[in-house]
Point group: C2
Chain length 153, copies 2
Amino acid sequence: MLFQYNWQVREEWLQWCRGISASELTKERAGGMGSFRLTLLHIIDVEYSWVRAYMGKLDIEIDLASYYTIDEIEDLSNKLQQEYREYLSEWTHDIENQMVYASWLNQSFTKGEIIRHIIVHEIHHIGQLSIWAREMEMKPVSANFIDRGLADK
Amino acid sequence: MLFQYNWQVREEWLQWCRGISASELTKERAGGMGSFRLTLLHIIDVEYSWVRAYMGKLDIEIDLASYYTIDEIEDLSNKLQQEYREYLSEWTHDIENQMVYASWLNQSFTKGEIIRHIIVHEIHHIGQLSIWAREMEMKPVSANFIDRGLADK
């Protein structure tokens, strides 16, 4: 359910970014990954690496330089989600303590840890975007979990 | 487990704030609740309101003006957590769909929704603090969920 929340909020931020110029999208800012563009790509990239590890697959690096426009970033996000949307929806509590190896850290974690790590990671970076929005005197996307129709999903 | 994460990160931010001056703590900034002090108090206040509703208790407003120093904010946070730490640890999946009334919104939600709303709310605001830290050229608290010893709690 928190994945659905994150993906809904991410989609709203992608739409939000259509209301700013390409130079604002890529402008260097303090914190996060340094810009709206790089922070959004970082969210997508990190989710992909962890989900691949979670699925027992090898890590695939994403070439961030290939994704400049919101259309490109959104397509990437949708394409990757399709790869694992169904797989993740099969989560049950018995797999909580199954171990997973993260090659880029040369370390193992439980599946429960990884799922929570991915969830927290995106919410944290989205909070950062909201500050940049306010600094541009624009209204950020709502971060509320309630009132998104996610109660019974 | 995500509550434990949030409380651990909150405590680290409270300690982090001991490394900045009182004027930096209360300085007005764009976004969040407008300052480190008010954003930290807002996290505590919102958690308290929702947890009270979750417990079927009446909302108690916190007088934010009474808490100025980090010691005062930390004492408040610890005192309130003691009120419901044990209660929240008794979460089971059968209560997911129990309804709860939030008086200040005059609206009802499931307990599952409320729990996730509280969790997301804190992570989001903590992400905001990390931008302000970077703007002050200081290293923020790590937001990582992994490597906190939370796997088997």
